[in-house]
């Protein structure tokens, strides 16, 4: 199956939406990301980056959650364009 290479959530820009395919990580950080709502299938909106570029705020199932790049780097999926 020919499929576009998956993007990292950390590459998505403010205003973009992103659908999660998988989390490439194990252990406590994976658990934490899942508990925060970053689960495969869910749609995320990138809200804004903080002035220094990290962390970035995301809208995920009706709540705003900020992630550091070291966390969002492990989240893979499709960039599905702007709102």
């Amino acid at each position: 199956m020919a499929r576009a290479k998956l993007a990292r959530l950390s590459d998505a820009k403010p205003g973009e939406r992103f659908r999660i395919t998988k989390l490439e990580i194990e252990g406590t950080m994976k658990r934490r990301l899942l508990d925060l709502g970053f689960v495969p299938g869910s749609e995320i909106t990138v809200l804004q980056k903080s002035p220094l570029g990290d962390p970035t705020a995301y809208r995920v199932s009706y709540t705003t959650i900020a992630l550091r790049k070291e966390e969002s780097d492990h989240i893979y999926g499709e960039r599905i364009g702007n709102e």
Partner: protein, 243 residues
């Protein structure tokens, strides 16, 4: 007046109105303090209902009870070691998908749970209609709709709490089923866990934590029950790894 004092714990995601509910309930008899903003350490208060005394504990808001932040440990330890007579899981009715994660985790830990659907006024404003009877049937515990800030639903909640502490409500908490591989491991581990921790702690939940390699729980168990660690837990831990 009955001397027995019942304990009620308040758990839930951040910002779902736990402290507001705490203040409404304790305000019925005495005000033990206002706890605005984010709750960090738990607050305790008291209330009386139908001539019986209840102690109520306001736990920090968390999205989970697994990820080992200090807040999550406080909440988890209170539910496991404090053995509240009732745990109220306060959910934001406008964000159920997110909030139910924690509710399911609590249902794995105790069967004495009442789900409070708070912020129902907001849900109504957004045109959301929630089938609470069906939700209650699926979760296997009572579900009480609330708007704590407007003191809506409080009487029904108090009555449900009273009936639960008196054993008048039989619950059948929804048990999340895991993959076959994990369920097989749980089955192997359960007798061992029961042998070590006895009836005091929820065996299936402890088995899951062991399989997850949750060292913080083991430390907490060690702290709370020395004899748990005499030989049993090292063995249990080892078995969990080898299973």
């Amino acid at each position: 007046m009955n001397k027995k004092k019942y304990t009620v714990a308040l758990a839930g995601n951040p910002n779902t109105g736990k402290s507001t509910l705490f203040n409404v309930l304790t305000g019925l008899r005495q005000h033990t303090g206002n706890w605005p903003g984010k709750t960090v350490i738990h607050a305790e208060g008291f209330f009386t209902y139908k001539n019986e005394e209840y102690q109520i504990i306001d736990l920090p808001g968390t999205y989970s009870l697994y990820s080992n932040s200090a807040d999550e440990e406080v909440a988890r330890d209170f539910i496991i070691f404090g053995k509240p007579d009732v745990t109220l899981v306060v959910l934001d009715a406008t964000a159920l998908e997110r909030n139910l994660n924690l509710a399911l985790q609590v249902l794995e830990m105790t069967d004495r749970v009442i789900v409070c659907l708070n912020l129902m006024d907001e849900a109504r404003k957004k045109g959301m209609i929630i089938d609470t009877a069906n939700l209650s049937k699926k979760l296997g515990v009572p579900v009480v709709p609330l708007a704590a800030r407007n003191k809506e639903g409080i009487e029904e909640l108090l009555e449900t709490i009273a009936r639960m502490v008196h054993g008048e409500i039989k619950t059948t908490p929804l048990a999340v089923s895991y993959s076959r591989a994990i369920e097989e491991k749980i089955t192997k581990l359960l007798p061992l866990v029961k042998e070590v921790v006895g009836e005091e702690y929820p065996a299936r939940w402890v088995a899951l934590r062991l399989l997850d390699g949750d060292t913080s729980l083991l430390h907490a168990l060690q702290h709370h029950r020395h004899h748990f660690f005499r030989e049993g837990s090292a063995h249990a831990c080892h078995c969990a790894k080898s299973i």
